[in-house]
Symmetry: C3
Amino acid sequence: MTTLQIADEVATALAENRPVVALESTILSHGLPAPRNLTVAARLEKVVREAGAVPATIAVLDGVPRVGLSSSELDRVCTAGDLVKLSLRDLGPAYALGRSGATTVASTTALAHQAGIRVFGTGGLGGVHRGARETWDVSADLDVVATTPVLIVCSGVKSILDMGATLEVFETRSVPVVGYRTSRFPAFYRRESEFDLSWRVETPAEAAAVFAAGGRGMLLANPIPAAYEMDADLHDRLLAEGLRKLVDQDVRGKDVTPVLLEHFHTASEGVSLDANEELVVSNVSVAAAVAVALSGEQFQ
Amino acid sequence: MTTLQIADEVATALAENRPVVALESTILSHGLPAPRNLTVAARLEKVVREAGAVPATIAVLDGVPRVGLSSSELDRVCTAGDLVKLSLRDLGPAYALGRSGATTVASTTALAHQAGIRVFGTGGLGGVHRGARETWDVSADLDVVATTPVLIVCSGVKSILDMGATLEVFETRSVPVVGYRTSRFPAFYRRESEFDLSWRVETPAEAAAVFAAGGRGMLLANPIPAAYEMDADLHDRLLAEGLRKLVDQDVRGKDVTPVLLEHFHTASEGVSLDANEELVVSNVSVAAAVAVALSGEQFQ
Amino acid sequence: MTTLQIADEVATALAENRPVVALESTILSHGLPAPRNLTVAARLEKVVREAGAVPATIAVLDGVPRVGLSSSELDRVCTAGDLVKLSLRDLGPAYALGRSGATTVASTTALAHQAGIRVFGTGGLGGVHRGARETWDVSADLDVVATTPVLIVCSGVKSILDMGATLEVFETRSVPVVGYRTSRFPAFYRRESEFDLSWRVETPAEAAAVFAAGGRGMLLANPIPAAYEMDADLHDRLLAEGLRKLVDQDVRGKDVTPVLLEHFHTASEGVSLDANEELVVSNVSVAAAVAVALSGEQFQ
Ligand SMILES: [Mn+2]
Ligand SMILES: [Mn+2]
Ligand SMILES: [Mn+2]
């Protein structure tokens, strides 16, 4: 298996059991338009540092898996325009063929674990697609979360998905889903879905304790900050329009999420873009606090 | 990962390669009413001891995972009334938050393996729920059995499930299903379903040999004792009524099995309760015999 | 777990890091009629040797798992007529009960990995069966490929399957599917299906590099040699007839593939038999070349 290139700052922190937070690159290369992605990339790293942890953005550049990017590497991820989306199964080909790409939740989780990082902050996970009874389209994120002991802070799963089915798969695959100061599963742009959670924690220390005790991959579900929650009617209208667009343009597979996000961003005149940025920042901030708690002596 | 509290008697037996049988606690806390659960708990431990093995009932008490319960701990599981059902993914939260709960097939299997116990006797496994094509409701038991090298003696899967679909998942996930003195998959309250098995064994020694040779989790399917088999018409009527009740009362997820069992127990005026007790006792007795065989020198 | 009997030639090659190719026995015992299977068995071993690798045909004989068969053992697999098909979950029972059987893709992959063999050449994988939304019939091959680091060279999946659903499961389970000199997923008897592949390689060395870099089980999808590709109309007619036959005769599970292949072979008057032989020979030849490349110093 290919050896990771871990940035010095990240490697030192890991060696000294200091807190590190993994960050994905797909949100930068595919999820947000330039130049906004550049400001978000900088903001995410800043939020992690301010909490006392070290950020480790992950990407594959010229066939090399990098854990922790320099500022010029971050720029490249945000502006190069030639990065493909790399899921876990794409890593071998990308390494061997010398390709560059951004890592998804699945591949970021796997590489974080390979590097020894235990906490990852992101926006929303993939899951069971609507219509998956017919198409069998289920994200690789679920399988990776079920088999990799990394704590992922997120605002639930992407809006387009079959949320109920996705939650059932988390149960089937023994993935703990724990609410961060909530007893409801969050709905990405909205703070609450209709689905209850069995477990909730109130502090980063509690989240760290749950993860350390269980020893399994888990989701810490953190709702979007109230100030940025999308209006319910707007949300439902955008979602309905976006789903219709997917059907009309026959969009499938890897292209679904970018197309849907694009519709949300355009049709909401930037409201969803603000929401998306703020929920990721909030999740990464919680992730950093959990990583700090997890670096305490009792969890070594 | 949290350290198990293994009872002295169990720990000593494991250290000396003497036979141990894992027992779940959900059947005591949720599957049988008090005070019947107390007599069943005592009877199961007695059956294991008489066969020459050590019983290890598993539960989480005040956040501590216990393998092998004292008689006051067993009492607490049977009578406290405040124990929740803990599946594998609930263990981390329960440990960290100091909660008490009964372990399901999934969590008992995982904890048995963590403790070094190779045989587990229970009633029936979870599986694919009827209507799972729509609801995606599939028990975590399947995933755990497919990935954990523990031999589980059971009378098939719970009556409410889609048995055909469940058997397909066992095949897909490479879980051996071996009949104990039967070539048909048992149907919990009934000795036979319509489904044939590819493999059967006649003795505990053969079952032990199959398990040791394969090195994978497996089901040893043991039919309910003939004297306690439920009348076919009664069984079909109770099942139809119970399924209707679930729909009428909109019962789902973790609540399904208790509600259905409750209906069986009430509407059959205790016939199903006797059946349930006797099949568990029979399975645990076979489990003990297999554990004894497995402790032979050739399997160390 | 049962110890493998590895033939001296295979064991020596593995110890010296020389190339070895695993071969399955189900194609010999169930996939091809005698005496054709004898000539194919000999031809496959010859192709491997000519490429500079050692063939290791795998089967279970009298309860003993054998990796690398003597010529009399190969004869027995081809002519005995009493060998059952053994999937991964059947190995424990077969070992313990002293049975003989041919290994499927799932069990061959698992045993190859247990023996330390990294490359396996075969015809086509199992996958999601047509109608699996109702029947839940999904091959164990998928689960094994997703969890076992072996490179499998094949011409896609068996014709009878739901190819689109199968490809989705490969994605969900993070199985890389890489085209060998093709950008389309091959359709067994036909060089191309309607499905695009994300990755392709042009040489055995590239395939070896992708596998070594990724460290996961992967499929190298190699189309049938053009000279033996089945005519499209004939193929579609045979498939439609075969599927109708399965329904008419209520054929299911393990019996589906043999019945379908039998129909193809009879109704095509041997055209499909030639095609099947040639695609396997081609895949095994590519597998040998990849194994040779993988034995290079850079991959040790
Ligand atoms: Mn997909
Ligand atoms: Mn469920
Ligand atoms: Mn099947």
